[in-house]
Amino acid sequence: MSAEQIHSGLFALFAIIACGAAIAVVMSQNIVRMAFWLVMSLGATAGLFFLLDADFVGATQLLVYVGGTVVLLIFGVMLTASGPYIRIRMSPAEGVLAGGIGILFLAMVYSTVGAVNWENVSSAASPSGLGAGVSEGFNASSQGNTTRPLGLAFIGLRPDRDLGADIHSPLSTGYLLPFEIVSVHLLVVLIGAAYLARAKRRSDTVEE
């Protein structure tokens, strides 16, 4: 069995799990089962990332998404699912309408995306302009792992690009400033979320 066959087989497995679980999230009426199918879909997406040589992004997907965000959503389900509201049904007519619109929308999106020949686009973009410093793209499978280049990109260094080649480009290719903005943003968001979700005393009980 060649490596390409293994890659194709694993891609088919992960793609079917990811798409099928995503469809099951929509079809399911029970909020707890929706959370379970969401975990399956996000985990299979992490598998797709590993297949695409994005090992650090895949590991982060497993840690932050499957381990953090979904647990947060499940806590939300636990705190809000009371009695009759654990399953809020939509009528069958609405379901048929949503399915029809979804199929039409998918046909539109994929026919638009599939009409573009991406090999031509990428090769036309690279000889001049922003992609000038790219030698042969980024081939992570020949370079081992992506952890070190990603860490260097976050502190503003790009060893995978020749920055001297496009010195006239006004854009920086490092990501130090967005990294700092995102870190401060995350701190503000967590403080704000804790402030919003804190246990408030209701005003009518205070007056009594």
């Binding site: 194709s8 809020i88 979320a193």
Partner: protein, 102 residues
């Protein structure tokens, strides 16, 4: 069969469309949040696939990391809003939140 860019783009398109349908059709507020997560994941699949198959390179990985972090922040704030909605209305049904209807 050789797996190419278009196969990954199709997976991303399916996740995006299911997320949009989930956001539009679910009446449970937490279900709407799950639709948002699916949409962001479809976008992430596209970014990482373009990083692998075109000249986007490492930038695609960096953007995917930012999307993951911002999705986590969005989930935290949206969950706090959903809890406040539940405290005020004693339900999570988004159809009940119609006080601002003109």
């Amino acid at each position: 069969m050789e797996v190419g860019l278009n196969h990954y783009l199709f997976v991303g398109a399916v996740m995006f469309v299911t997320g949009v349908i989930c956001m539009a059709s679910k009446r449970n507020g937490i279900g709407v949040l799950m639709g948002v997560e699916l949409v962001l994941n479809g976008a992430n699949v596209n970014f990482v696939a373009f990083a692998r198959y075109t000249a986007l390179g490492l930038d695609g990985h960096v953007i995917a990391m930012f999307v993951i972090v911002l999705a986590a922040a969005e989930a935290a704030v949206a969950l706090a809003i959903a809890l406040n909605f539940y405290n005020n209305h004693l339900t999570i049904d988004v159809d009940r939140g119609d006080e601002l209807r003109g």
